[in-house]
């Protein structure tokens, strides 16, 4: 296989890692007002993703860095072209990232409510905009002979792009509900399970329309297979949730997201950013790539270190494998104070 094809696949893998993992913590964040009835339950939800969300988010940093290194032209055109959506995503990721660490630092209802909003909207905005961005990448955008994006924000907000945004929104909500059901005990678990079924059914309809549309406009045989399995996994996941099999339900949405993203990349190949101005201006895996020497070096690094990363990330999930319930939440952090003075003083 060509090195450029290998790197195209590896970048697909990085995005799959990102959306399958950060997808559920986006979902948990967005579901905060719907699944949690009080502060303790909100804290249960925060704590289900507390130890792992940051590791999940690193997948997007590595995907961005790998695109920069392996396909500099793709990175340059995409990031300078999708400027405002990326800025909004950045703002979202910044405020939600701080919400985890800062929310519990003060026992003050208003302070907590602000950080809850940061988590909710900071998850919602990227959850939609990543879908808009990927739908537009696959669909193609106006790119000129200098590889520059010539559209603006409204070019990206076309019906196909917006539908893509709704699909990622629905998938991450469902995925987050499945994760909450899998990682909690008590009322919240039941609520999450019920909601996951309803969300899953709505998402399934949206996803089928979107994937069929993608398949008709740019699909290949392999992307069709991926899309069909993705849809089947979603239905199976919802059925598993209804049957109370939370582990399998989560596997269902996990596989759905993984294969839907894989299918999008298969539909994209061998382009990386098709041009709607003129097909000759499309960026492809070969025209956008770095030199083979860089790709070789990067391949060695990836081959050696990716298994190590996967191993310790998996291990951290295993360490925090237990379900969390309201009884696990300690009282509010009253905050540290001076050591008790000895009685004699």
């Amino acid at each position: 296989m060509e090195l450029t094809t290998i790197w195209f696949s590896l970048i697909a893998v990085l995005w799959i890692g990102y959306f399958t993992l950060e997808g559920f913590d986006f979902g948990v964040g967005m579901l905060l007002p719907f699944l949690a009835k009080n502060d303790t339950e909100r804290r249960v939800m925060y704590n289900t993703i507390g130890p792992v969300w940051d590791g999940n988010e690193v997948w997007v940093l590595v995907a961005g860095g790998a695109t920069f290194a392996a396909f500099p032209e793709w990175y340059a055109t995409l990031f300078s072209g999708f400027y405002l959506p990326l800025l909004l995503i950045l703002v979202g990721l910044i405020v939600r990232g701080l919400a985890f660490e800062y929310r519990h630092k003060r026992d003050d209802a208003r302070w907590k409510a602000w950080w809850d909003r940061a988590l909710i909207y900071g998850s919602l905005v990227p959850a939609i905009l990543w879908g808009v961005a990927f739908a537009n990448i696959v669909h193609g955008v106006p790119i000129d002979a200098d590889k520059e994006f010539t559209g603006n924000l409204f070019t990206l907000l076309n019906p196909f792009g917006l539908l893509g945004g709704l699909v990622t929104l629905g998938l991450f909500l469902t995925h987050g509900a499945m994760y909450t059901a899998l990682k909690t005990t008590g009322d919240i678990r039941l609520r999450a399970r019920e909601l996951s079924v309803r969300l899953g059914l709505v998402t399934a309809v949206l996803a089928v329309v979107f994937l069929t549309w993608t398949q008709i406009s740019t699909g290949s045989v392999s992307s069709a297979v991926a899309f069909v399995v993705a849809a089947a996994a979603l239905v199976a996941g919802v059925a598993a949730a209804r049957a109370g099999r939370e582990g399998w339900a989560f596997v269902g949405t996990f596989v759905t997201i993984a294969l839907a993203v894989a299918g999008l990349f298969l539909a994209l190949f061998p382009d990386v950013m098709p041009s709607t101005t003129d097909a000759a201006y499309s960026l492809t895996t070969t025209s956008a790539s770095a030199t083979s020497y860089t790709l070789k070096v990067m391949t060695w690094v990836a081959v050696i270190f990716t298994p190590i990363v996967l191993a310790y990330q998996a291990w951290s999930y295993w360490v925090f494998r237990k379900r969390i319930g309201t009884h696990h939440i300690p009282g509010p952090e009253v905050g540290p104070g001076p050591a008790k003075k000895p009685a004699s003083v």
């Binding site: 860095g65 990031f79 950045l90 990232g97 770095a290 540290p336």
Partner: protein
């Protein structure tokens, strides 16, 4: 203002801001890991209290470093797309490797450390913080390798066919001679910053009567912080000296700009402590000069020859003045903004030296159990973290502004790197949104830090002793929870 100006301001603002937090994070992870390891060895309860106390402050700080770091990676493509196209083959690789080797390590093991008190055996728990620290060092290595390549491009060739620089030797980039002196300099400065932070926090609490019972605890923190600051300060000075020699060799204009030396001195070039000049910065009115010091800084010998700005401008114009064939070339003046390089160089050195001497003084005054209680000592202690953070910022301002007009020295000027397709509106929106957001977050961060500093260290509490199989009581509340 055009997109170029806005993009430059944005890079300056968000990068300096990001780096206010980074050195402290790098250094504090080591300090916290050190306290925890020391506690495991001698079981002194004070050490665990310090571990948790500084661990908390480190996390408040770490969070901002993490979220502002995402912008760093995205903005190369957003604002500097032509730069990214030109250098992606070389510059992208260290960034990708940084993500894979460093960011995963930091984020995963930080999560394990925060929530692992009742999940991981004690030794393993301490090890997770060391791994976080190693992650921060990996991160520094790769990002500094990328930056060093911009200061002194090696291991590449220019391909006229594609109009891009292409990587030919990855190891040359990783072990660039600029990198070999920059990495230790930056990391030592990070330890120095963290040491100063520990002195500042410890000093503040030490002098408050409310915490009289904990005097010994904070005195210990001050001593540890002062040793770290002083030793790291020496390392910063030595590595900075090496850096000066390498800089003189590969970027002579930057050295001339550091001194505002307009004309070549054949030997014994003086170093001015400060200068008052005419408003255009070209004529000096009054200066305090130390003879031969600049020659020594630049060449290692008091008799060394130091080239001046005017001569270097002629040399650069001869070398780069005719179009070398790259589309990214722009013939310019080749002289950075002299007042900025001149003063940032002095503030970097002056503040760094002040902090190292301050730490030494504190060590001396607290020697052998002495417990000084002078107010001015408290102010000195509290001032040191500010001084060291400022010194780091001035160092970066100097090295980045001193490279101008180049973005990649000798290959590409900064103005050629900016994104051609980005509108003024987009760039302006971005710089305003990020600056306002960062300012707000800065206020929140400082207030949180001060709240948690004022509360002092928690009383000692024996942590659980879990095994990997799980906790003794799985239904008990979590030891640490958000």
């Amino acid at each position: 203002m055009d997109v170029l100006d806005i993009a430059r301001w944005q890079f300056g603002i968000i990068t300096v801001y990001h780096f206010l937090f980074v050195p402290l994070t790098i250094g504090l992870t080591a300090v916290v890991a050190g306290f925890e390891t020391a506690w495991l060895r001698n079981r002194n309860p004070d050490l665990l209290r310090l571990t948790k106390f500084f661990g908390k402050l480190m996390l408040i700080n770490f969070a901002i470093g993490v979220v502002t770091g995402i912008v760093q990676e995205f903005q190369f493509g957003m604002n500097w797309s032509d730069y990214s196209r030109f250098v992606g083959d070389i510059f992208g690789a260290p960034l990708a490797v940084e993500g894979l080797l460093a960011f995963f390590l930091e984020s995963t093991f930080l999560g394990l450390w925060i929530f692992g008190w009742d999940r991981l055996p004690r030794g393993l728990h301490a090890a997770t913080m060391w791994l976080v620290h190693i992650g921060t060092l990996f991160s520094s290595w790769f990002i500094l390798a990328a930056n060093s390549w911009m200061q002194h491009p090696v291991g590449y060739r220019y391909n006229p066919g594609t109009g891009r620089a292409e990587l030919t030797d990855f190891w040359a980039v990783m072990f660039n001679k600029v990198q070999l002196v920059t990495f230790p300099h930056v990391v030592a400065a990070a330890y120095m910053t963290a040491g100063a932070f520990v002195i500042g926090v410890g000093g503040y609490l030490y002098l408050r009567n409310r915490y009289a019972a904990d005097r010994d605890l904070y005195r210990r923190a001050i001593r540890v912080g002062a040793v770290v600051t002083f030793v790291a300060g020496l390392a910063v000075a030595v590595t900075g000296d090496f850096q000066g020699k390498v800089m003189t060799e590969v970027q002579p204009m930057k050295m001339a700009a550091a001194e505002a030396l307009y004309d070549t001195e054949d030997s014994c070039a003086p170093f001015s402590i400060f200068t008052v000049g005419t408003p255009d910065g070209k004529t000096e009115k009054f200066a305090v000069k130390v003879p031969c010091v600049l020659s020594f800084l630049a060449t290692g010998s008091t008799g060394g020859r130091v080239e001046g700005i005017n001569q270097l401008r002629d040399e650069y114009q001869q070398e780069y003045g005719t179009d070398p064939g790259t589309a990214y070339y722009y013939a310019g003046d080749y002289v950075p903004v002299i007042p900025v390089t001149y003063w940032s160089f002095r503030f970097m050195i002056g503040l760094g030296v002040f902090a190292a001497f301050g730490a030494a003084l504190i060590l001396y005054l607290t020697r052998r159990g002495r417990t000084p209680a002078a107010r001015w000592l408290g102010w000195l202690a509290i001032g040191l973290p500010v001084v060291t953070v400022a010194a780091s910022s001035f160092g970066w301002l100097f090295t980045e502004m001193g490279r101008q007009p180049w973005v990649v020295f000798g290959l590409m000027t900064t103005e050629r790197g900016v994104s051609p397709g980005v509108s003024t509106f987009e760039a302006f929106t971005s710089v305003v949104v990020l600056t306002v957001l960062y300012a707000g977050l800065g206020v929140v961060e400082l207030r949180l830090l001060s709240t948690y500093i004022k509360k002092g260290a928690d009383p000692f509490e024996e942590p659980p002793e879990p095994t990997l199989r799980g906790r003794a009581d799985e239904d008990a509340p979590l030891t640490v929870a958000y």
